[in-house]
């Protein structure tokens, strides 16, 4: 029996059974993994980015491996919010794992529309506002400055009573300022971070490997130190729960995010290489907390000393 309290209260009634979630874009809507692992043990499934209308996604190639990471430019291929609310959500409602629908759009009105459509559906534990997609036009528009992010969160906050998570872009000068702005605007929790804009070059062709923009979102172990730094900055800026994400592939990686200030984590790219990795990390966190005598994982949190004047 475990004495460790693994639950994470994201607010507004959204309590995750444990802190190990799977990141948006790396787990579909759960169905593909249902055949491979016991998804019901997860702390949360953060769905593929879901847009007002279905999207076909970008032309290939869409992925490119890099040293310790991968670039993707999928372009938010998804069946649209209506399909998610009407069809997928009926499955979500049967599951014990909380499903948090990641929402991406181009305008405030579209985000609000998605929130309203999803409000009609059962089986959705929370929304994760994606204001940080680097692979579509306007995907990061709201995530790049604090006033735009706040305006968006305020509007969605007014439209839904659901728990509202906001997923931040790391491609900013001061992620702490954006975090504080979305907290003030009514966000219940913050996911940090989405992918970093990156490029891989095909030297033989003298062009980027990924087409159109030439760039994609970098994820995987390569970004872990960057993501840890971002989580620490967000933690210092806000009081709401912080969900750490970026390059987590092992239990040790996950523990480091709790030290940096996370209340929960998401496993992303590692799911592609090992569908069982998230559950193994969950077991590993529990074992660690028990053997270290922790009441909760957030007891690991680093308390930075005040900077000298």
């Amino acid at each position: 029996m475990s004495d460790v309290d693994l639950r994470v209260d994201l607010g507004r009634g959204c309590v995750l059974p444990n802190p190990v979630g799977v990141a948006s874009g790396t787990f579909g809507y759960g169905f593909e993994f249902e055949q491979l692992v016991d998804i019901q043990r997860l702390g949360a499934i953060y769905t593929k980015g879901t847009t007002p209308l279905p999207r076909d996604g970008n032309p290939p190639p869409r992925v490119a491996e890099t040293a310790g990471g991968m670039l993707n430019s999928i372009g938010l291929q998804n069946p649209g919010v209506d399909h998610v609310a009407r069809v997928y959500a009926t499955s979500f409602a049967q599951w014990s794992v909380p499903v948090i629908v990641n929402v991406a759009a181009a305008t405030v009105e579209e985000y609000v529309h998605c929130a309203r459509v999803l409000d009609e559906a059962s089986g959705i534990a929370a929304l994760e506002l994606n204001i940080s997609c680097p692979n579509i036009a306007h995907g990061m528009d709201f995530g790049l400055d604090a006033p735009s992010a706040a305006r968006l969160v305020q509007a969605v906050r007014a439209a839904t009573q659901r728990c509202l998570v906001v997923k931040l872009s790391p491609n900013v000068t001061d992620i702490g300022a954006v975090a504080r702005a979305v907290e003030d605007a009514g966000a219940d929790a913050i996911s940090a971070v989405n992918t970093y804009v990156g490029m891989k070059v095909h030297l033989g062709l003298r062009r980027p490997v990924l087409p159109s923009r030439g760039t994609g979102g970098l994820s995987g172990p390569a970004i872990k130190p960057l993501a840890l730094a971002a989580v620490a900055r967000v933690r210092a800026a806000v009081r709401v729960p912080v969900i750490g994400v970026g390059g987590i592939a092992t239990t040790t990686d996950a523990l480091e995010f709790f030290v940096a200030g996370a209340d929960a984590i998401q496993v992303g790219t590692a799911n592609f290489a090992d569908p069982e990795v998230s559950l193994r990390i969950l077991d590993g966190l529990q074992d660690y907390a028990q053997s270290a005598g922790l009441a909760r994982l957030t007891d690991l949190r680093w308390q930075p000393a005040p900077l000298p004047a």
Binding site: E32, P60, G68, K200, A273
Partner: protein, 271 residues
């Protein structure tokens, strides 16, 4: 996860790795693939997809070339090393008991699925499996005895080389018209996408069987339909759409593939 049994060096830089993978061996059908973990990571981070080339009891074999970090690590594995395998994945070739004559078209490393296909087709009742196999030069041809694996009954291999070093001088596609003069129930092709496009074009000029399928390739992230990375252009509902190579393929009916769309794409960086 299973132990590596052998890593054999074949002519022309091809490598054949055999491992104890009971689940894959029990379930894989020709054309389906496994995602292999090439090392402990994080470089390379992702698994690599390989057709199951052969099954012997609980053992599975894969054929590949050293084209990048992943395949170099695989080729350096030693007997007893543990190999992570996820699969079988994807859609394989359509084999039915009514197929008597089957023609396979293998361009280069596209040989990989055909030893298993020939054996499974023969077991289902095919009486003639003809494999057209082309490579740049003789040294890079997959050895005929590896296609037939000790039982050449009903299996014929016809070779071609670009440099005339063995067999027909020219492209493997050149062999299609003559081979299909005999009544044929199915055509299965595997090779680089441009070779598959040329095959589809050639088949449109002859009386091709109703079953004509190609095993395609695309850079994959996960291999099981989640990352959405391996999109290929297909004809659908009167227009074109993206299909996932890993889930809707890698084997697809040739008439569903948008070959012009595929040709127009920038080359994939697979290393």
């Amino acid at each position: 996860m299973g132990a590596v049994l052998s890593v054999a060096e074949l002519p022309g830089g091809l490598v054949e790795l055999t491992a104890h993978l009971p689940h894959l061996a029990a379930h894989a059908r020709a054309g389906e693939f496994a995602q292999l973990r090439c090392g402990p990571g994080p470089v390379p981070l992702l698994r690599r997809p390989f057709s199951v080339a052969w099954i012997d009891g609980e053992h599975c074999s894969f054929v590949f070339e050293r084209v990048g970090a992943g395949t170099r690590l695989l080729a350096a594995m030693r007997p007893g090393d543990m190999l992570g395998s996820l699969g079988p994945l994807g859609v394989g070739f359509t084999l039915t008991p009514s197929q008597r004559r089957i023609v396979c078209i293998a361009g280069g490393l596209g040989c990989a699925p055909f030893p298993l296909l020939a054996r499974q087709a023969r077991a289902l009742g095919a009486t003639d499996v003809t494999i057209l196999h082309g490579a740049a030069t003789a040294a890079r041809l997959y050895p005929t005895d590896r296609f037939v694996r000790g039982d050449s009954d009903g299996i014929t291999v016809i070779e071609s080389t670009d440099d005339a070093s063995r067999g027909h001088h020219g492209l493997v596609v050149d062999l299609i018209t003559e081979t299909l003069r005999h009544p044929t129930d199915a055509v299965f092709a595997c090779g680089p996408n441009p070779m598959l496009a040329a095959t589809a074009a050639r088949l449109s000029t002859v009386r091709a069987p109703s079953i004509a399928e190609a095993s395609l390739e695309a850079p994959m992230g996960c291999g099981f339909g989640t990352c959405l990375g391996c999109a290929l252009p297909v004809h659908r509902d009167g227009g074109t759409a993206w299909a996932l190579c890993c889930r809707e393929g890698p084997v697809m009916p040739m008439h569903t593939v948008d070959w012009d769309g595929l040709r127009a794409l920038p080359p994939a960086h697979v290393a």
